[in-house]
């Protein structure tokens, strides 16, 4: 990482190195004049010391310098100035600009040679310029690439590049973080050896796919530098050169070890859930078989007890004394009571066992039906009924009917000691999601101390000789209400009456 950044900085610095600044026009022509003047001065000086014929090489040198540094224009200026100076100072007649015919070939050769030098230097300059341009372009590209490479370091994804013989050529920071190898460690190594990749298919097939479509993706097992295993989702992209030959593979990896683990966990949990459900279903079946057995096998001996006792009573009526007859009566009563208990218990367990069939139900109609049902117990009684409006609600019709029948018959039963019973049925609250229904009576009530015992199976707050019952009615009510996502509760005052409330929720499905 550090290395890459250093490279980037170096590239940027090189990129900023100024190229030799091109000279201005005045500078170029000034250079030409200066060069020719120096050459002329030098020639005149040397002539004074009797060095002969040095002026031509000196002027050629001046032209070459002008051409080199000042370009074509400066070279021409230097050439013209050289010719003029040469004619004026060194050609007979001296100090005139006359040119004799015999000197013309000499001048021509001089000019041609000078032009040749100029042309060479121009070509050289152009080539140099092109080279410099090429270098600059290259530097820009390198800088850009390096910058891109450092951008790849910003991502948390694991990215590396390997050539066609699987040797790693690029390794980003994500790769270092995931596998623990630094770029220095990894670059130059064979990727599949370094990471001990485990492929889901033969590597030849994967390569064939990569070469055919230019990409491949799949899940791979790899190893970190510390030897731990990691599962990655791997995507490969093939890079080709301009001729279309494959040159490198860019591989992006995402660590899905955690995801895999969670998926496995979810799978396990689902399996566990399936097992539990099966167990639950089995125990439900058992419960059902149990209830069925009660229904069948427990009732038969009871029926025999009752039947034969009754036959006994009939056949021996004249032989038994009053006390014995009372015993027989008690046996019969107990058998009857046990029959009722079994029936109620079965009905109660059936509520849990059967599925609810929920539809829109008219609660008002259910109250009507409940009142009809308890009519045989209200004959000859003085009961003032107050029935308020109730909304239609979503629920299991027969179950909700049972709730109302139980609560209404309770109210009738526990007001039986009143000369005038008052029973009120109404809706306490009616919202979008919930309705609360109450049944209020002025019966014997109950002590709030025992309110928690009201809804338990076989829990009774009164002795059987005061009020008959099996103690299952309110437990049944509670179970049904719970299956409708509601609550049931009661308020009471001993000897003043009781109010039972139940709520039903709309959204709750079971």
């Amino acid at each position: 990482m550090k290395q890459a950044r250093l490279e980037a900085r170096q590239a940027t610095v090189r990129y900023k190195l100024p190229s030799p600044k091109p000279l201005s026009r005045i500078q170029r022509y000034g250079l030409a004049v200066l060069a020719v003047s120096v050459a002329l001065g030098g020639a005149l000086l040397l002539e004074r010391f009797f060095f002969r014929d040095v002026e031509v090489p000196l002027f050629l040198f001046a032209v070459a310098v002008a051409a080199w540094y000042g370009g074509m224009g400066a070279a021409v200026v230097a050439l013209v100035l050289s010719c003029v100076s040469f004619d004026y100072f060194f050609v007979e007649p001296l100090y005139t600009l006359d040119v004799s015919r015999s000197d013309i070939p000499y001048y021509t050769i001089f000019a041609s040679f000078a032009l040749l030098v100029t042309w060479f230097s121009t070509v050289r300059r152009r080539v140099e310029g092109e080279l410099r341009q090429a270098r600059d372009d290259l530097q820009i590209e390198v800088a850009e690439r390096t910058q891109q490479a450092s951008l790849l370091n910003l991502t948390h994804d694991t990215i590396f590049v390997r050539d066609m013989s699987d040797v790693i050529t690029y390794w980003n920071r994500g790769a270092q973080e995931l596998y623990g190898w630094t770029a220095e460690d990894a670059i130059g190594k064979r990727a599949h050896e370094l990471l001990r990749s485990v492929f889901p298919a033969p590597i030849e097939e994967i390569h064939a796919e990569l070469l055919r479509s230019g990409r491949w993706d799949g899940e791979l097992q790899k190893s970190r530098s510390d030897g731990t295993q990691v599962t990655v989702s791997s995507r490969w992209s093939l890079r080709r050169d301009e001729q279309g030959r494959p040159v490198a593979v860019l591989e992006t990896n995402n660590d899905i070890t955690e995801r895999e683990r969670r998926e496995r966990e979810i799978r396990n949990l689902n399996e566990e859930l399936g097992k539990r459900t099966a167990e639950l279903e089995a125990s439900n079946k058992e419960l059902e078989a149990f209830a069925y057995s009660i229904s069948h096998d427990l009732r038969a001996p009871l029926r025999h007890m009752a039947g034969f006792t009754e036959l006994l009573q009939k056949n021996t009526a004249s032989l038994l004394n009053a006390r014995s007859q009372r015993y027989v009566m008690m046996i019969l009563e107990s058998a009857q009571r046990m029959g009722n208990l079994i029936d109620d218990l079965l009905a109660f367990s059936r509520i849990s066992r059967t599925e609810t069939h929920k539809t829109m139900v008219s609660l008002e109609q259910l109250v009507e039906e409940a009142l009809t049902e308890v009519r045989k117990d209200t004959d000859g009684r003085n009961i003032v009924w107050k029935v308020g409006g109730l909304p239609p609600w979503y629920g299991d019709r027969s179950m909700l009917r049972l709730v109302l029948v139980n609560l209404v018959s309770n109210a009738v039963k526990f007001t039986s000691t009143r000369s005038q019973a008052e029973i009120e049925i109404g809706c306490l609250k009616h919202g979008q999601d919930q309705v609360v229904v109450f049944i209020r009576d002025n019966g014997v009530g109950f002590n709030m101390k025992y309110a928690s015992k009201l809804f338990g199976v076989f829990q009774r707050l009164h002795p059987p000789e005061a009020f008959e019952g099996t103690g299952i009615g309110l437990a049944t009510v509670q179970r049904i209400v719970h299956r409708h996502g509601g609550q049931v509760w009661a308020e009471g005052l001993l000897d003043k009456g009781a109010t039972f409330y139940f709520s039903l929720s709309k959204s709750q499905e079971d």
């Binding site: 069925y292 096998d297 029926r303 025999h304 034969f308």
Partner: protein
């Protein structure tokens, strides 16, 4: 008294048999009752097989069938009778302790003619048996091929 149809009682529990016969006796309905103690025997009777191979060639006026029976249970007996072209006309009354809905649904879907839950209370039991006996053995006109005892 009016003519009395023959009743085939299929009941494994001897106490239930006795109570049922007592209830039928009470109303003089018991003189033509054949008792079989399991489903196999009941089928032997209606198909005139085994110990019943020599019986006369006619069907009972009504079959009172318990559901929980050894060997072949009541629902199987019902299913065999109701799927047999020659026997399906025999009226079958399920007489059981079971109040379970699935038993009722299964019985009715197999084509049972009546489903009666035996009451625990003896009075009610006697009444139920009496009414069943009177209805099926006396009031109901049995299908052709059933015998009428004298």
């Amino acid at each position: 008294m009016s003519t009395l149809g023959r009743i085939l009682l299929v009941e494994d529990d001897p106490k239930d048999v006795e109570l049922t016969l007592t209830a039928l006796e009470e109303y003089n309905l018991a003189n033509e009752v054949i008792v079989t103690r399991d489903g196999e025997e009941a089928l032997d009777y209606v198909y005139r097989r085994g110990t019943f191979s020599t019986r006369s060639n006619d069907n009972p006026a009504v079959l009172l069938l318990d559901l929980k029976l050894p060997r072949v249970d009541g629902l199987e007996v019902l299913q065999q009778i109701k799927s047999d072209q020659k026997l399906r006309m025999i009226p079958v009354v399920v007489l059981t302790s079971s109040r379970e809905e699935r038993d009722m649904v299964a019985s009715y879907s197999l084509g049972v003619n009546a489903y009666v839950v035996k009451p625990v209370n003896f009075h009610e039991f006697v009444n139920a048996i009496k009414e069943l006996g009177i209805f099926w053995a006396i009031i109901n006109q049995p299908p052709p091929g059933s015998i009428k005892a004298n």
